[in-house]
Structures are given as structure tokens and as C-alpha cells.
Symmetry: C2
Subunit: 253 residues, 2 copies
């Protein structure tokens, strides 16, 4: 939370820099050890979690704004980022409107305004990013989708809507490519699909279909170590993947 002086300065700067009424919130997905995870910011001195979000500068294209906000608030840069939905319920940020009501009158308080927020989802390779909190946040951490902390405003709903979008876009966007490490086993890929689709899949069918798409390359070397037969490692053939996605992964009409 801001103290009074910080709030006054923030609001003055916001009024001169940002468009009224519009914000951006990002749902950043990562996948690790069989779990789909989402990035949350814990605000300093509050038991409150938020998605990384922010405002759009007066002359800034919204895609640039989304990238800038994500970098400022989490340190993440140059990652797969897709707009997916506007959340426009007039009451969605009601708790925010009252937050500083004893500190500043509503007409001077940026947070008293109604905001529509544009939801973006981002996909990252978990092991290659290092989320870093900004100055307002105590931490910027991964949370299992099955065990989320208390996200404020409508942020839990935004996360759910982003996950629904992943499910619908699984055949049309390079979701596996962006979430998986460079090399992975077939059971690891299957686990990602099962998590997004929220259901168990048949191992043999999954492998047969995945290989049938012609989008995976198998490494010469199986994974080293472990007591059992070493599993094969796969990676995405990006060119074939992109070309298959234009028709939809399950084949065109």
C-alpha cells in the first residue's frame, strides 16, 4: 500500500501518463514437475495477491504496454504473450475504489476510477525465467493452479478464463512449444495436456496422435540416469509445428 505522499505522487503521474479507465493484467503460465503454475505478486505489507498488471500510456500501442508492464512488474521479457479477453464488469474493482477513500477524495484518486482490464496470457519455459518482484511487491512467485493464494479483485476469474482459453487454443497456438523445456519425454508432454484439459488421457493414443502430427523430433540419445529403461527425449520441430497449427492440430477440414 502507498502512504499518502506516495499516493499523491502516483496519482499525479498516472493522470499525466496513462489513459483513464483501461488497465492490463497478465496471466503468466509455467509448467514444472507435472504442475501448471501461474505467477502472482504479493503486495508489500498486505496479505493480497495480484496478477502482474498496470496501465496504458497515452500514446502506447496496447501490445507494447502489455510487454512493458510484464517486464516492469516481473522482470520477464520477450516471451509469448497473447491478448485473450476484456473484463468489463463495473463492479470488478469495487474494493479498490474504497481502498484510499480516507486518504484522497475520489476525484483525485486514480484508483477510484472504473477500469476495464485487458487480459493477456503469457507462456514461459519455467526453468529459463527468473521472476523478480518490482518495488511495490514483496514477492513474485509461482503458484500451483490447484493451490492459489487469495487473489484480489476479479483476478481469480481472469486466471480461470485464461485457462479456458489455453484449452480452446491448444490446437491453434504453440502452447506446448512455449511451456515445455527444449527437450522432454512423452509422459511429460502428456501431463501438460492432461493438466490443461483437466482430464486423464490414454498413454498409447496420446503418443500415437502426437507422433502422427509430425511436429516432434526424437533425440538420438535417451535421457541419462534413473534405474529404469531411459525414456526417449523429444523436441518440437518448430517449422512443422507452425505449419500444422495454421490448419489446427487435429487436421483441417
Amino acid at each position: 500500500m502507498f502512504n499518502k505522499q506516495e499516493l499523491i505522487e502516483f496519482c499525479e503521474n498516472a493522470r499525466s501518463s496513462y489513459l483513464d479507465h483501461i488497465s492490463i493484467d497478465c496471466v503468466v503460465f509455467g509448467f514444472h514437475e507435472g504442475q501448471l503454475k501461474v505467477l502472482g505478486l504479493k503486495i508489500k505489507n498486505e496479505d493480497s495477491w495480484y496478477l502482474p498488471g498496470g496501465f496504458v500510456m497515452k500514446d502506447e500501442p496496447i501490445e507494447m504496454a502489455a510487454n512493458r508492464i510484464l517486464k516492469e512488474r516481473t522482470g520477464l521479457d520477450e516471451i509469448f504473450l497473447q491478448q485473450f479477453r476484456v473484463f468489463g464488469d463495473p463492479d470488478r474493482a469495487r474494493p479498490h475504489h474504497d481502498m484510499y477513500k480516507d486518504v484522497l477524495p475520489p476525484e483525485e484518486n486514480w484508483f477510484s476510477m472504473r477500469f476495464l482490464t485487458i487480459g493477456y496470457y503469457a507462456l514461459v519455459d519455467f526453468v529459463h525465467v527468473n521472476p523478480t518482484p518490482d518495488g511495490h511487491s514483496e514477492s513474485c512467485t509461482w503458484y500451483d493452479l490447484t493451490d492459489l493464494p487469495d487473489f484480489k479483485l476479479d483476478h481469480a476469474q481472469i486466471i480461470k478464463s485464461a485457462l479456458d482459453t489455453l484449452r480452446l487454443q491448444l490446437n491453434y497456438q504453440p502452447i506446448g512449444y512455449n511451456l515445455m523445456p527444449k527437450e522432454f519425454t512423452m509422459p511429460e508432454l502428456q501431463k501438460l495436456y492432461e493438466t490443461i484439459l483437466d482430464k486423464k488421457l490414454d498413454r498409447r493414443n496420446f503418443q500415437r496422435r502426437m507422433l502422427g502430427f509430425g511436429i516432434l523430433s526424437r533425440s538420438e540419445q535417451p535421457r541419462k540416469g534413473g534405474a529404469h529403461k531411459a525414456p526417449y527425449l523429444y523436441s518440437f520441430d518448430l517449422k512443422n509445428y507452425q505449419s500444422a497449427l495454421t490448419e489446427g492440430l487435429k487436421g483441417g477440414w
Copy 2:
């Protein structure tokens, strides 16, 4: 175009009623005689066409705003309407900013503001609607997608993006159900798919797959009239259709 007095009144009313910076534009699709069509408004005394659009009231949920705007500008009501994308290029409405520059100074002119527009697509049964222009418009008419007039601002791009969305959502949204008349022949349905996908489909494969989904009911009576063998008529079994769409039409994983 507004004259000066009309413009002053419109801007005063807009400032007190609407949220700054946010507009809504609707791409209304209809399908008739093998052509996918889109609804355009021709502005009075201008050679300018626009999508039916408008602004969001200060306390109005955006879904309600989209429905209200569509009704006010085209007379259409209670139709299938889906948000699909925000268009947020700062220069997207530059021609509008200058439109009244000799009539009102920018700080008093509502149209000088930057607007992000939320795109909605609508699907209607062509033969059951009667588009009616509002007071600003000379006409509200269907145009073939292959032969569009000169849509202003970024509206041609919004139409293209809506069509891309139809293509991606063909297996997940009741697009056929909302665009086709109650009863139709298999070649008519195939033509709709071909138009949305922008490619020819094999007749026998299409029929086999469509029937395989179990979402069509065949009428007892073939279509009457015509010199040739009368074709069978089909209608959607809405319950089966909805249930198949939750998994995606081509079958779940």
C-alpha cells in the same frame, strides 16, 4: 456528419454519459445464397461506411453495452454476440481526430480522443432479421465479404480479424447453428464451411464427418420443388451440438 450545434450537443452528452477512451464495434455476419455477408452502416451525406459501434456508459457492463449499441444502430436484438479482440493502435482513429478540427477545439471534441475499441462478432439467421438504420445512417445493409465498400478507420481490419476468429472457433462455438436457417441442405452447410475456411471441401468427406458428429437431424420430408431429385433437409440437434462443442467438434483428446 454532425453540424456544429449537433456536435456540441453530442459531445456534452457523451462526456457526461460515456467512459472516455473505450468504444465497441460489432461485426454482424449473415449467410445467404452461398455468401457470407457483413452488416455496414452508410453515414448520411458521406461516402463512408462503418461497423455498427458506439460507446460504453459509465456504469454499464460491456456485454450490455454491446447489445444496446447493436440494437440502437441496427435494430437487431437478442442475437448471438461474442467479444473477440481489442484494437488498440494509437493511430487507429487518426482520421476521426481531425474530422471536426475546424469546428471544435480538441479538448471539447469527443472524437479527438484516443479510443480503444472492443470488437464483438454477431451471428444472425439472415432471413429472420430486418436491419434498420439509426438516425445517423442513410442505410444499414448487408455486404458480401468478397465485395465490401470502403469501411473507414480500421474497420476493414476488424472484419478480417472477426473472420479469422470464426475460422478458429468453428469447432467450439455454435457458428453453423446461428448462421444457418432452421432447415438446410448438406450442400448449403458445406458452402458455409467453405466460405469461412476459404477453401473447397470434398463433398463426401464433409457429409460423412458432419453426420459422424451426431449433431444433425434429418427431416422426414425432402425439400419440395425443383427439377432434380429433392435434397434432404437437415436441422441442428441443439442439445447434441452444445455437448459436442464443449469437447471441440473434431472430438476431444
